[in-house]
Amino acid sequence: MSSDRDVPVAADSGETPDPGETPDPGRTSAETTATEMMEAGTTAPDLTAAPAPAAAAEVRELVAQSLGQYLRAWWLKVRSGDSGVLPVLLAMVVVAVVFQIITPQHAFLRPSNLVYIFGLSTVYMVLAIAETLVLLIAEIDLSVGAVALIGGVIAFKLVQQPGAGWPWWAAIIAALVACGVFGALQGMVTARLKIPSFVVTLAGFLLFSGILIVVLGGADGSVNLNTSAFNQRVIYDLVQGVIPPAASWVILAVVVVASGASLWLRTARRRRQGLVAPPMSVTAIRIALVAIVGVVVVVVCNVNRGTSLKSVQGVPWVIPIVLVVLGIWTLVLGRIRFGRYLYAIGGNPEAARRAGVSLAGIRTWAFALCSATAGFGGILLGSFFYGEYSTNTADPGQLVLYTVAAAVIGGVSLFGGRGKALHGVLGGLLIGGIAYGVSLLNLGSLSTPLQYILPGGVLLAAVLIDVLSRRGSGSVTRV
């Protein structure tokens, strides 16, 4: 499943298998041409020896000349087991419809609730993106919850006044660096000593849960943000702050135009240079979808969700923040060498090693970046809980379970080599939606247990789909 070469594919390069290794009896002449073109576009050495399920369909998708061909190729890809974000999108629709029907007063899809769900979900989204980095290389990080909370507490402590009194950006950077160091330590133990990651991070979970309490200043310690101080206010506003409605529209317009133009120009350039690119109509539809989603989000967020005394409206800052995190990791995973190496290691570590990839180095970096990203998630978590951090704010064990569940539900494979940052975001939204939906149901004593049972059930279902899709694709995972 790993993409190891500079395949000039639109946004999909992270999932492009190596066509050279794909036995494909039904290959047409058009596809052969495409393969040759892709060979010509190759810059990086060939690292893949991974089984490449659905490769044929993917190639068809690349060479589609019209919208119809593209859709047919996409459908073939889905049927062959590589369903991408489709299952999680379907699941989101089902969850939304079901909760809308069963919540009292059909409150689930109210704008105020949707914005709240998004705020809650951002934590899971960022943590799931972090976990994805490690899952891609077929490892796991069970310490993300504890590391995230430490990151949040460090940032909160550093902006305290009186106290360290650091500027907000320095506090955030320090927290991310500290978390990155924690991750690098775990990564080094995993990669150099070759101890299984789930044991290392299990121990890390214990270790960092202990350190968390020490950093908080004891079992009943806590740290709060004072919203009248500027630096603390900024961190508080990461999730709680909103962009004014008018500004929301302006920013949306800028974002849609910029991303649409760059997408259009990039595919146009590809076509001009004779590289593989999706048909014009597909690019146009993508831009239209981005615009529609953006408009819907802004409309929902601009509804007044405050009380009669105090109006609250506008897009929360956290939405562009999460989009930036998503964008950074999408670029890292899809466009630079480090990202390709992650997929290569996840697909077949031995092949990656023989191609000259430093397994220990890349693995250590993956853990370090995972923990740094998790630390940012922890800062958002504290901001979501109105700038308060105590030992009761969140249970690091439950957090990590939700995180893994979010990543796998989103479509990241547990077996390495398959997944994108986007999957973490969608999975996080689904988990957040379920968690909040259950709490809306007023089930009394049942609502607490359901907070555990539903994610557990969804996790099992997601893994079952993962396993079945791998089986359908013909690659044997184990005896």
Partner: protein, 447 residues
């Protein structure tokens, strides 16, 4: 610590019994150069030399964990002279019981190269169910029926998870992760009002459950039981080795058998002597707690199952090389499923003890039950069970559980706060896993 001396279980069953088909599989894993010393030694001296060679070859068995126990005991004794007092040792054993049982449960999964993260919450669910079932205002079952129903329920949970792992080939680590979330929810539902207790001595069934953990044999009965157990196991061990020698099979030299029996007797007498000291601050509490024979029975039964039966050999075969085992005709699905059932069964037994220990169960205690799984894995690995499957014995779980219990108990005596205790346990877990990795690297078969 009579368990230490039970060294006969050190011999992999597959290697001694040359008539079975599955032998080759186990033997292949154990590597030719790695023959158990009992098989080649003709005298005690030879045996000791052979054991040492084996330790140096990477197969150190229980040696590291026994050393760890000694180190833990000495260092805490230096820091606090109460650590090795009779009162504290019994206390320490009681604290370790849950770790020991959960580690034994975990070993059934680890031997296959799988992991069961749900043991802590199977225990949690079991404790809630057994406590609810004996409530006079509720089901009001007799204590034995409540225990049977609880254990059956736990087995059903294990069978479900095992089926997902074995038939649908889902990674065990995720199945049991999802499983523990679901079990946590179910346990909270069963708990209903958020509190259930078995501390009411007016009701006989609650009293029996309470006494499982908190009761003890009286001192005379303790000695008689020890004599019976020592006589039976000593005679059994001696007769078995004698029979083997008579039939010309490989067996330990007589001096070794005698030494083992003597060590067992010394350990047993020491244990009973310690337990018979009055350990109450006020009044009298003395005698061997019921939990010691309970742990020994679980240990003995699981050791026999894994070391002496075909099922056990198949478990080691799958852990060593699943594909080879499959080609030799081992049904991977059923053995894997059964291992998860057994793991859940032993977790259920731990659950009954847990209910008896905690006396009243609350939602927070159930949530905390989750943290036991980390300690169970740590105990198994510290004891010498491999995370990669195919190597380990249930005695490792008992010894590892004792180390974990000792660390918790000792640090607690020193007034160390719980978060630092977690940090120490984490470091020990990493060290144990590192030793596991190193010994795999040293082993000749590990190319």
């Amino acid at each position: 610590m009579s368990e230490v001396t039970r060294d006969s279980s050190e011999t992999p069953a597959g290697a001694t019994d040359t008539t079975m088909v599955a032998d080759d599989l186990t033997a292949a894993r154990e590597a030719a150069a790695d023959v158990p010393p009992e098989l080649v030694a003709q005298s005690l001296g030879q045996y000791l030399r052979a054991s040492w060679a084996r330790v140096r070859g990477g197969n150190s068995g229980v040696l590291p964990v026994v050393l760890a126990i000694v180190v833990v005991a000495i260092s805490f004794q230096i820091e606090n002279s109460k650590f090795l007092s009779a009162q504290n040792l019994v206390n320490l054993f009681e604290q370790s019981t849950i770790y020991m049982l959960l580690a034994i449960a975990e070993i059934f999964a680890l031997l296959l190269g799988e992991i069961d993260l749900s043991v802590g919450l199977i225990m949690g669910l079991g404790s809630v169910v057994v406590a609810e079932l004996v409530q006079p205002s509720g089901a009001n079952l007799p204590w034995w029926a409540a225990i049977i129903v609880t254990l059956l329920l736990c087995c059903a949970v294990g069978a479900f998870q095992g089926t997902l792992v074995a038939r649908l080939k889902m990674p065990s680590f995720i199945v049991t992760l999802g499983g523990l979330l679901i079990l946590e929810g179910v346990a909270i539902i069963v708990l209903g009002g958020g509190l259930v207790g078995i501390g009411n001595a007016q009701y006989k069934n609650e009293l029996v459950l309470y006494n499982i953990f908190n009761g003890a044999f009286n001192t005379t009965v303790s000695w008689i039981l020890l004599a019976v157990v020592l006589g039976a196991t000593g005679a059994g061990l001696w007769l078995r080795d004698a029979r083997k020698r008579r039939h010309g099979l490989e067996a330990a030299p007589p001096s070794l058998t005698a030494l083992k029996i003597v060590l067992m007797a010394v350990a047993g007498i020491g244990l009973v002597a310690i337990c018979n000291v009055n350990r109450a601050h006020v009044g009298t509490i003395e005698g061997v707690p019921y939990i010691i024979p309970i742990v020994l029975v679980v240990l003995g039964a699981s050791t026999v199952l894994l070391q002496r039966t075909r099922f056990g050999r198949y478990v080691y075969a799958i852990g060593g090389n699943a594909e080879a085992a499959r080609r030799a005709g081992v049904s991977l699905t059923s053995i894997r499923t059964w291992c998860f059932v057994l793991s859940a069964l032993i977790s259920g037994i731990a659950g009954v003890l847990f209910a008896s220990w905690q006396v009243s169960l609350t939602t927070n205690i159930i949530k905390a039950a989750n943290s036991y799984v980390l300690l169970a894995v740590a105990a198994a690995v510290i004891g010498g069970t491999s995370l990669f499957g195919g190597r380990g014995k249930t005695i490792h779980g008992v010894l590892g559980g004792l180390v974990i219990g000792g660390i918790y108990n000792g640090l607690y005596l020193l007034g160390v706060s719980s978060q630092w205790i977690d940090v120490v346990v984490a470091a020990v877990l990493i060290a144990a896993a590192f030793i596991d990795v190193l010994s795999r690297r040293g082993a000749p078969r590990q190319a």
